[in-house]
């Protein structure tokens, strides 16, 4: 006698709670590992889960066990080929006899790194931990991209699946009582009576009467249905739009000849991060790519990153293009606007004044946040670039002059791939703590 139970449909993920506890426990190490890993990753892989290795220090489970070396030990091992008793054998390197260790060692000696797999969600959560969008709540708007359904009373029409049986039967009962529909019991009693009378054959008058009565009852039964379409009620559901915050992200980039592939790559990484970040915070994120040389145009992503263009550099054209797109499609009252500009810092001398004015009066006021990333040649030491007055580019100087009254403008220099993430964190770190430490460093 036995029972067989199908557990396959039981909810899986029984150990999820354990996993969360484990991640919490090893959080510092996991975060470090996540950042290291993301530094090494390609752009496309940034928002995927993956292998993580952490040092086993914080997650050791110590036990009282005997040391694996020293003292007198006895091993019994299989597969003797040539040894006679009394033979002497050289000790295999690293102690532990012939890979022996009886019971103790099976639980992973913790000699090397602890490897495991993080899911995509976990990875991104850790990756973006304690980052915050500036002014997140300032402008939010309901976009009806999803609907919530909830119960809202009853209706007379609907799909059979939503039929409300209790209501329907209640109506039917009320109607049957009101219209005096004969019950099954009444008809049964009458029939029995007729039956009795027929068999006895005495009271023929009563029999005829009863027959007539029965015919009447049956007619009524037929005319007044048990359930009438007017009784039927359905559960009604109302749809309410779920408000969702929306944001648009402008990517501005100088694509003139002075921008090398390396610089573009740096910029692209930054945009990737920003996009990832925005999608975590907003339901709805639009991305607009604007590239410029001495003239600007809105392009698709492919063109933006991969097609070359020659010409001078006039930054204000890009700003004007952005202004145009905003006016056309993204009214500032309805959209959270973020912009990230990447450039090597060149600008036509005559354009600086116009750029400053545009930024100051048009662009910055409508932006939630405007990040300016100045990308440098690989190999130029960041120390030199950061070195204050060493050599500031035109654009840097221009932006610096208007940065005073605009907290939403942030400027950073990046020369190497590995700096991207720290700079990004610094820009979006919660309560600006990161910013200060970086500045003093």
């Amino acid at each position: 006698m036995f029972t067989i139970v199908d557990r396959r449909l039981n909810p899986s993920g029984k150990s999820l709670a354990n996993r969360q506890r484990f991640l919490r426990r090893a959080k510092d190490q996991v975060m470090r590992a996540v950042r290291d890993a993301s530094g090494k990753r390609g752009i496309k892989d940034i928002d995927m889960g993956g292998d993580i290795s952490i040092s086993p220090d914080g997650i050791k489970e110590p036990t009282l066990r005997r040391a694996s070396s020293g003292g007198n030990r006895d091993y019994v091992v299989p597969g003797n080929k040539e040894f006679m008793s009394g033979d002497r054998i050289r000790r295999p390197p690293q102690g532990g006899g012939s890979g022996q260790g009886s019971e103790g060692a099976e639980d992973g000696d913790g000699q090397d790194e602890f490897r495991f797999v993080l899911s995509r969600e976990e990875f991104i959560d850790l990756f973006l931990e304690d980052l915050e969008l500036p002014d997140l709540a300032k402008r939010k708007l309901a976009v009806t991209d999803s609907l919530d359904w909830h119960r809202a009373g009853y209706s007379v029409s609907g799909s059979p699946a939503n039929l409300n049986l209790v209501r329907t039967m209640r109506n039917s009962l009320a109607r049957r009582i009101a219209l005096n529909r004969p019950t099954g019991e009444e008809i049964k009693v009458l029939r029995e009576e007729i039956d009795r009378l027929e068999r006895s054959g005495r009271d023929n008058v009563r029999l005829a009467e009863a027959r007539e009565e029965l015919a009447l009852l049956l007619r009524r039964t037929q005319r007044i249905p048990y359930i009438d379409p007017v009784d039927v009620r359905y559960n009604r559901f109302n749809a309410t739009p779920r408000p969702a915050a929306q944001a648009v992200m402008f990517c501005l980039m100088d694509v003139s000849g002075s921008m090398t592939e390396h610089m573009k790559d740096l910029a692209k990484r930054f945009y990737m991060l920003l996009y990832l970040f925005l999608t975590r915070r907003y339901k709805h994120v639009e991305v607009v790519f604007i590239r410029h040389t001495h003239k600007a145009q809105e392009v698709d992503e492919e063109t933006f990153f991969y097609s070359g263009e020659t010409g001078g550099t006039v930054v204000s054209t890009a700003l004007e293009e952005m202004q145009r797109v905003v006016a056309e499609r993204f009214p500032p009252a309805e959209w959270n606007i973020y912009a990230a500009q990447a450039s090597d810092g060149d600008n036509a001398l005559s354009d600086n004044g116009k750029t400053a004015q545009l930024m100051d009066q048009v662009i910055l006021p409508i932006c939630q946040y405007y990040a300016y990333i100045e990308v440098g040649q690989d190999g130029v030491s960041p120390g030199l670039a950061y070195g204050g007055g060493a050599r500031e580019t035109d654009l840097w100087r221009t932006y610096k002059s208007i940065a005073e009254g605009h907290p939403e403008l942030a400027m950073r220099r990046v020369t190497q791939r590995r700096e991207i993430y720290p700079v990004f964190r610094e820009l979006f770190a919660r309560d600006g703590a990161g910013q200060q430490t970086e500045a003093s460093a």
Partner: protein
């Protein structure tokens, strides 16, 4: 089909896919062989079909269907999952739980033949062993374990809600570190109930009356009477020291723990106790189950109830499981309990039915006894790995495995081959191998020996060092730190050589934070 049919002769199933009907047919056929012919005695079976995902889940909570939450299980799950996903390790075919009814998990991905093998292996082999082996009978409560775990789970969840995950985690961390030292190794004396107490009193009285001799009254007693008890002895008697079950001692005697913390220690201790027999019977348990599946499937095949293809598939898995690489093989990772266990069970069968002269000399009671199943059932009931090997490892098996015994003294530059599979070596090899499975040798002998009750409440532990193998220092310190946290005062661990009594090392740790928060 070469062998046709005493009983049926029609294959129970064909093809690889399984369904419930097939499983039922196969189960009934297996049951007929196992109970009717092999005389197995089992708990009612409950077979549960799960997915590989769920199998991974089950791993992380040591195979139990429900278990309390702790980060270390998440850690094991993460590692197992990584190993599984990268293909470095396959999943177990089955997990079986020592409970009544006996729950065995089978995976939906398995073929029908694998399900057959697993049912014979787990639902009959392991099941019989759980129900009959003396260690399991003595130490585990198959009827109550699932209820107890369900209680433990909800109790710990409630504690987490009430006192916070962090506080609960600290206690559990500490308790887990001491888990291996949270088992009773010997049955404890139970307090007598009134009737037995009276009976004993009466018997004593009668004995005194029978043996009364007035002369004893005249024997002079030592001056000062029986006041020879020292302070230390009195203290030890009061605290029932020495005590090797550290968790038990803390649960009962730690001065600063709150009630719920004691209950947590108790839960961990009970779980450790529940698994204690399994740690001592790996070879036998697997040997028993492997022998059962082999014999059952072989019988079914001989009767034509299993197709040749299915038999070949089963044998493929079987031989993989019982493969024993040599010590110089890259795949060698210790002695495979399946291999040794299965070989010993077969050997017992051989000795019982077709003994050689040598066997008659070594096993006079067993050799030629004829009733192999009876002999095996007897062994499965009354032995654990260590005693089983000591009793039943035969010279022919030592030769077959070409076992040899290496003695390794750290003070010498080379290891010495102490014994090989020859006339002089059989007993030595057998003894050394048995000792390898003796949990008392494999694990450190640690006892609580004293508490400074009058002074600073220092707890003193002693590790009796065998063969000059000290504790792993880093880990020992971490564990004693946990211990000190639970105890609430300083803890000393002295390592004393068991032979000479020399003090080798002393580890002292004070509490980092006091876990006990006064009253509850």
């Amino acid at each position: 089909m070469s062998v046709t049919a005493l009983d049926g002769g029609i294959p129970l199933y064909t093809g690889a896919d399984w369904d419930y009907d097939k499983v039922r047919r196969v189960y009934d056929a297996i049951e007929k062989v196992a109970l009717g012919e092999m005389g197995l005695d089992i708990y009612t079976n409950q077979i549960e079909v799960i997915t590989s995902e769920q199998m991974l889940d089950a791993y992380s909570s040591i195979g139990m269907p429900l278990f309390y939450k702790h980060w270390s299980f998440g850690k094991h799950f993460a590692r197992d999952e990584a190993l599984y996903r990268t293909g470095q390790r396959g999943l177990a075919y089955e997990i079986v739980i020592n409970s009544n009814p006996c729950i065995s998990y089978i995976m939906e991905e398995n073929t029908m033949t694998m399900q057959t093998l697993v049912i014979a292996h787990a639902a009959f082999g392991h099941n019989h062993f759980f129900k009959n082996n003396y260690l399991f009978k003595q130490w585990t409560d198959a009827d109550g374990i699932l209820d107890y775990l369900s209680f433990a789970k909800s109790y710990i969840a409630k504690c987490e809600e009430r006192y916070g995950q962090v506080l609960v985690e600290r206690v559990l961390d500490a308790a887990h570190a001491l888990m291996n030292h949270g088992v009773h190794r010997y049955p404890r004396r139970r307090g007598l109930d009134l009737r037995n107490e009276e009976k004993r009193e009466r018997e004593r009285q009668e004995y005194n009356e029978q043996t009364f001799n007035d002369l004893w009254r005249t024997v002079p007693t030592k001056a000062g009477g029986a006041a020879g008890l020292s302070d230390r002895d009195r203290r030890r008697a009061l605290l029932e020291l020495p005590e090797e079950n550290i968790l038990y001692f803390l649960e009962k005697k730690a001065p600063r723990l709150a009630g719920w913390q004691r209950e947590l220690l108790r839960i961990v201790r009970h779980v450790a106790q529940y698994f204690y027999p399994q740690r001592q019977t790996k070879v036998m348990n697997e040997g028993c189950a492997t022998y059962c599946h082999y014999r059952i499937l072989k019988t079914l095949h001989e009767r034509g109830q299993l197709t040749d293809g299915a038999w070949m598939e089963a044998m493929h898995s079987h031989t993989n499981v019982v493969f024993q690489p040599d010590f110089d093989d890259r795949r060698y990772g210790g002695i495979n309990p399946y291999a040794l266990g299965f070989a010993m069970m077969q050997d017992i069968e051989r000795i019982a039915t077709e003994p050689t002269v040598e066997d008659r000399e070594w096993f006079p009671d067993l050799a030629g006894r004829g009733d192999a199943m009876g002999a095996l059932r007897d062994a499965w009931t009354h032995y654990r790995d260590e005693s089983f090997i000591l009793q039943y490892l035969s010279p022919s098996l030592i030769r077959k495995f070409r076992l040899f015994h290496v003695a390794d003294d750290a003070r010498e530059s080379e290891m010495k081959v102490a014994a090989i599979h020859d006339e002089r070596g059989y007993r030595a090899v057998r003894q050394a191998l048995a000792r390898q499975y003796d949990i008392a040798w494999a694990e450190a002998d640690i006892q609580i020996v004293d508490v400074d009750l009058i002074g600073d409440r220092r707890l003193v532990l002693e590790h009796r060092v065998l063969n000059q193998v000290l504790l792993e220092e880093g880990e020992a310190k971490a564990v004693i730190q946990h211990l000190a946290d639970l105890w609430g005062y300083e803890v000393d661990m002295e390592e004393v050589d068991a032979e000479s009594g020399a003090r080798l090392r002393k580890i002292s740790v004070g509490p980092r934070r006091v876990l006990g928060g006064g009253g509850d």
